[in-house]
Symmetry: C2
Subunit: 246 residues, 2 copies
């Protein structure tokens, strides 16, 4: 099966790594729109346009399935992509909410959604959580945490001050949906801040979802990954190969 | 005189405000490439392409002069723009270095250049400073400070930890070139951190430079500003009008 993974930049590596680690598919084509990253602070219309342009990129790749790793695109552009594409296009929102429901059976539990400004503003996660019966839901767009990940600062005094800045006013959650591809990198810091808390990772969530939907064969296979990017493709290839081998 | 101001996003407001405050020109056309901001972490080729596309935007505006407010474009894309444009295109590097030289006559003084990764890597400021006889020059790309400005966090514990993260290893400078349009917003925090230090602001620097080059008439005038952006032009208009009135 040849599967595309689309992200606004390099953040989608965290989802890609789950797919590779679980030996889900024989071939993955990764495309990161590095020339226009980030999407999370941009307009709905702009993100939809970029998402549809990504479909044009994938046109020559003869996909069986496209996975949208980027949460911002998953909440803002998924429907438009599904209408245009001739193959299934899946995002990370529904898998994330289902993974949360599987790990937090108590509907009175408190859930925190951490995403970009677009993701939080769209309220896509909040709506789906409400439909599942979760009504104690907070949402927060800790933009600086994205920048900290990009600077490679996964810990230390700046991280501590930043976590405190965003989280000190919140009631302690029982579970957190890491609704931005960058946040799995700082899962340890988030866990240390909140203590015993469930974390939902988009990559792991989508693997479970694909398995339930019958997208994964029982025969495991090594995955050949090809990397493409709208700028600096060589660097993306190098960093991506390092990351999935890590 | 009708003058264009080009920036990757909203950061150029700090330069625009200096031009408006000094009542330099009767008409300014501001264009921010908000759909693709930021430029500072992107490739040289990508930034040059975006800079040339900005010239296409300005084609219908019958400019007498174009000011590139963005430091990243000023160091990476200025020459390409100057070759293509039929009117003068000026950047902020030479004005910044000249303003520094005017305020720090002691060539033994220590200078710190604060810019984006692209600006620092290009070494454009460092080269021009060396040509002026300054040889004690540090350069630093404090990416998180850009994010802090965008989050409106000009002060407080996250700012303190971030300043410490980037600056604690540096020898105290005598002068700092704020080589990114975002940094004038946090001039007070930077000044508090380093104590008595000269700060060079691109907006003020370019006003002096334009005056010396005879671009400014002696008759002051109120400036009509029109705002354009590659996304969310209405918001850019509102924020821009607020900022220049502040």
């Amino acid at each position: 099966m040849r599967v595309g993974v689309f992200d606004s930049g390099l953040g989608g590596f965290t989802v890609l790594k789950s797919l590779v680690d679980h030996r889900c598919f024989d071939e993955i084509v990764y495309f990161g729109d590095t020339a226009r990253v980030p999407y999370g602070s941009k307009d709905r219309n702009t993100v939809v346009r970029y998402a549809l342009e990504a479909l044009e990129f994938f046109e020559n790749h003869d996909l069986d399935l496209l996975i949208v790793a980027c949460n911002t695109v998953s909440v803002v552009g998924l429907e438009a992509m599904q209408e245009m594409a001739s193959y299934p296009v899946v995002g990370v929102v529904e898998p994330g909410v289902q993974a949360l429901a599987a790990s937090l059976p108590d509907k009175q539990g408190r859930v925190l959604v951490l995403g970009t400004a677009s993701t939080v503003r769209s309220a896509a996660y909040q709506h789906q959580l409400a439909e599942q019966g979760y009504h104690h839901v907070d949402a927060c767009a800790p933009a600086l945490l994205v920048s900290l990940v990009e600077e490679g600062l996964f810990d230390g005094p700046v991280m501590a001050a930043t976590l405190d800045h965003y989280f000190s006013g919140l009631t302690r959650p029982d579970a957190i949906i890491l609704a931005c591809t960058h946040f799995p990198h700082i899962a340890p810091a988030i866990r240390r801040y909140f203590g015993n808390v469930l974390l939902v990772h988009s990559g792991e969530a989508i693997v479970s979802w694909l398995r339930r939907r019958g997208y994964l064969s029982d025969t495991v296979c090594d995955t050949r990954v090809r990397f493409y990017a709208s700028e600096n493709a060589h660097r993306v290839q190098t960093l991506g190969a390092q990351f999935i081998a890590s």
